[in-house]
Symmetry: C2
Subunit: 595 residues, 2 copies
């Protein structure tokens, strides 16, 4: 089924909720000529490209995945050409600096563009997404020489990047990384080790692959503080920039996966033939710190993947529900009607829609905070925005991906028996989405991050800031005379109370009753996503009430969806608060051998 980018909703969110006008006014963007009128033009261009070029590759990529033979990975037919077009059109460089060939646009605009790429094909999008992360890490920590050598070729799309973190014994726990980096005395290192789950770790879509590899130098301390980051190109780069010999890194297999089958997931062997030549990025033993820069960007991006696949599943389900005629309308119509008229089908479609719109709104809001963190002229605003962004990243990642599995599953359900037939395509989204809560940090990792680093560490300060923002929105809802605003207000107050109660419980008990509190970390993340998502939807409602006359059908839908979110989905927040506060001990009470 064709994909139609939801440009209208994207622009609504950017303008009315995420403050695009403020973002483009930051000096670095304003000076580069970015303004609010640029956004629609860029989004339309991105929509056209993703709809026409990438989206048609999604199903073929599932049916004819990447394949491995003798160390060579061949991607799905059409992927290589599409990536060439993608790079040629400048999409790889959207957020990157102009001096390296990028366009230096705000993350807010880039988020919308990338959402479209992900919707068009999660598998395809992973290649530029990982390359983005690698570029960001190099720009953060690498020497000017390394930057000059690699970054322009990555932004131009001639080379791609990979993130080589995981090893068989080191997944969520990177302190267990064992790959070795032996200094050669000439400034280079020889890298040895096995890396697994390396997305686009080998492929035929670019001339070179720039692996960013975590490894330990011989005298490094144990644990996370002894890990360094290295650039290990697939093909060595000569001093004149031309490509030289094959480096000693080889793809020994790719995985047979549940979904995102077109994207090759490689097992990479470093140094089996004498050692792969690697170049240190930044300082020794600070690798994990640098990697976190790239990982934060990647986590945000994976959250966008959740929203993107949810959007695509929703569009497909709506189409089927409009086409499929079955059973009478409950209002007593004579003959059978399209199933979209059945209340439970509407319940499913509204759930899919409301989750997707709320998650999009929250993610774009976070993107704008990230832009403010980097580009706002006022230091206080930069710091405040950073705190908000860092609080939101695990929620964008964790909440949007968890909901995407539910949404993709509802997408199958709307299709009935057809949904279970692979050719229908709904099942692909259900399979593809299932990786999103796992890679770039499982939901548990996000939840621990939110609870520990983002809530307890600052004594709940950022959580309180967000709570106050919600309270402000409640005041605006109160000022509106509409029944819709009052209905949303009623639930939002309850939701905020659940959030505040939970934060208070966490702060009071995290040290004294650690395991019980962390047993609620997942529920806390989900609760936060629901309350903050409902808040964004409430803001949507207020904006839609202001703008209503200019486009009644669109704004009526925004208002209704906001109300549905508040009345149907947000009530779960209170249940989650109860479970967090009540069930910490029973969760931990069984001994290992009792399972």
């Amino acid at each position: 089924m064709p994909y139609v980018a939801p440009v209208k909703d994207m622009l609504f969110v950017m303008n009315e909720l995420a403050g695009l006008a403020d973002v483009v006014a930051y000096p670095s963007y304003a000076q580069a000529g970015v303004d609010v009128d640029l956004a629609p033009a860029i989004l339309e261009e991105s929509a056209k490209f993703t709809q026409d070029v990438i989206a048609p590759l999604n199903w073929p990529g599932d049916q004819n995945p990447s394949s491995w033979k003798d160390g060579v990975v061949t991607t799905t037919p059409g992927f290589k050409e599409a990536f060439e077009q993608f790079a040629a059109a400048g999409w790889q460089g959207v957020v990157h600096p102009v001096e390296f060939g990028g366009q230096a646009l705000p993350k807010l605009i880039a988020a919308a563009c990338f959402e479209m790429v992900h919707s068009a094909s999660l598998s395809f999008a992973l290649c530029p997404m990982l390359t983005d992360g690698a570029i960001e890490a190099l720009l953060t920590a690498a020497s000017p020489e390394i930057q000059a050598q690699y970054v322009p070729n990555m932004i131009s799309g001639e080379w791609t990047g990979s993130m080589c973190l995981t090893e068989p014994q080191a997944g969520s726990d990177l302190s267990m990384v064992r790959s070795k980096a032996i200094p050669e005395g000439d400034g280079t290192y020889k890298i040895f080790g096995t890396k697994i789950y390396i997305t686009y770790g080998e492929h035929d879509m670019a001339k070179n692959i720039v692996h960013l590899v975590l490894a330990r130098t011989p005298d490094a301390p144990e644990g996370v503080k002894g890990i360094s980051l290295f650039v290990v190109p697939k093909l060595l780069v000569n001093t004149d920039g031309s490509l030289g010999e094959r480096n000693d890194v080889h793809c020994v297999s790719i995985e047979h996966k549940l979904g995102i089958k077109a994207s090759p997931t490689a097992v990479l062997q470093f140094g089996d033939h004498g050692g792969a030549i690697g170049y240190l990025v930044g300082e020794e033993n600070r690798g994990l710190e640098y990697m976190f820069v790239m990982m934060n960007a990647a986590r945000f991006a994976v959250g966008m993947q959740g929203i993107a696949v949810a959007e695509r599943a929703y569009q497909k389900a709506v189409q089927y529900a409009k086409d499929r005629v079955q059973s009478r309308d409950l209002d007593g119509s004579a003959g059978p009607v399209a199933i979209i008229h059945q209340p439970d089908v509407k319940r499913m479609l509204m759930t899919m829609r409301a989750y997707t719109e709320a998650s999009r709104a929250l993610a774009y809001y976070a993107a704008a905070a990230n832009d403010a963190q980097h580009a706002a002229p006022d230091e206080g605003q930069r710091k405040a925005s950073q705190a908000v962004y860092e609080f939101l990243v695990p929620i964008v990642k964790g909440f949007s991906t968890e909901m995407s599995i539910e949404v993709a599953s509802l997408g199958i359900q709307v299709h009935g028996g057809m949904g279970f037939i692979e050719e229908t395509g709904a099942a692909q989204h259900y399979r593809d989405a299932r990786i999103l809560t796992i890679y770039e940090g499982t939901t548990a990792i996000q939840a621990n991050d939110l609870l520990g680093r983002k809530t307890v560490r600052d004594g709940g300060a950022t959580a309180r800031v967000l709570s106050q923002k919600i309270a402000q929105t409640e005041k605006e809802l109160l000022a509106s005379s509409s029944a819709d605003a009052q209905a949303v207000l009623k639930q939002l107050k309850i939701g905020r109370a659940a959030f505040e109660d939970t934060v208070a419980y966490i702060l009071a008990n995290a040290k004294s009753d650690t395991k019980a509190v962390y047993a609620g970390s997942f529920a806390y993340l989900r609760l936060s996503g629901l309350v903050l998502g409902a808040w964004q939807m409430a803001r949507s409602l207020l904006a839609a009430e202001r703008l209503r006359d200019s486009d009644p059908a669109f704004y009526h839908a925004k208002i209704t969806t906001a109300r549905f979110f508040a009345e149907n989905l947000l009530p779960q927040a209170s249940a989650l608060a109860t479970s967090i506060i009540e069930s910490g001990h029973s969760t931990n009470a069984l001994e290992v051998e009792q399972f």
Copy 2:
């Protein structure tokens, strides 16, 4: 991974919650020599067979599914032999009458046996499950001649059965069935039409296939009251009982599915070469009524499939969580520990376990009610039990299957990246489970049934009966002095109130505000499952407190799991009640073109 049947929990539920002693005392069972001591022996036998013979076929069935060539379907290697053993051991006849070769055991015992078959392989189990349904329909409505001709051969496993309901335009809405049955004047009919999604509609595991087919006679009224049921054997049966010519029913293809790949899902073409010979079952135009007998049995069985796949996914996740060493314990241990020590992993495993145990308890309780409905000596008890059973069937079907998708998804999550690799096997459960909320009536169909036929039609009488039973359990909890009982009591009261408020809302508004009420049907089903599941878990807790000293570890686990269910999962009931009562209008508020 090997499957280990949870015989201990099954027997606990049968004896302590479902009243096995009462069931076996009903005259028809007592006279046949069934007693409580028979159950462990049968369950151990079933465990041995399913673990050793069927379970090893599950993964090969996924990798090497049934295949179609020129109308012939070849099942996964080993399936034919396993089915022969299954039938030879008498498992097909567990619940069926002795005079046809069955063992006439209570459904309560059969439910446990079949749970094991489903856990061992959902795909395999579908063949005897559909055969069971076909036997039940024939025993309900067919003439003694037809019964004598078909049933013994089906119970012996020489022949299998299929249910041919769905057509391309008639899925959830069987009123749209178009297949034709033309009387030949000699008592037989010629059947014409296309049937889709026919599980084991063609295969090589038995000598003959007995298709039960819905079709319309020429002068039948429109809609559901003009549908008749026919027996259409794949091979015609001679008067001496030997197999005769091939009937005009042919498998033109099988589906390429997301899961349960080993079970062939056939498209059957009836009558393309002159007409398939069919024999009327019961009276003309009463086909749907007969089919519902078979469908109720099938719906209960699909609910058991949900429990079964959840159990298997749970066992697999526990094993991995015990084996996988990663990260330190939050209690500050020196080195990395098995991930089962992490609170969020415990949260996932406890969720999987609690859902599975609660759903099993509720299903077995329902099975005992079905036994009482048929075999209790007192007519009042039979009628009361029937009402309870019929109320519970859509919950057993809908709740157990919806939770199974969540549990299978958690099973992947516990495995982290490994869960996404097909060879691990966790993904198979996630794919297999996804059909369970669709076939034999989607969750929406179950929810409508629960809300309309089972709640509104009797003015909430059965709902009130169940509510009073819960209140009685609350009294027993109050009488217990334990903190566990008090904690469960607190949540159960809240849950019961949510159930009662919802029923009151439904009864008050179902006629005046139909679409709004039905928008909450799914949530009502889920709420009912949570509250009734929590009730069974509370009864588990009380029994476990009584029995505690005889097996401290087992009963401590039962108590803890009951408390976890009440504190962690049950609180959702209140949220669902809110969404039912508040969101009916916003669910329905968008016009079709606004989606």
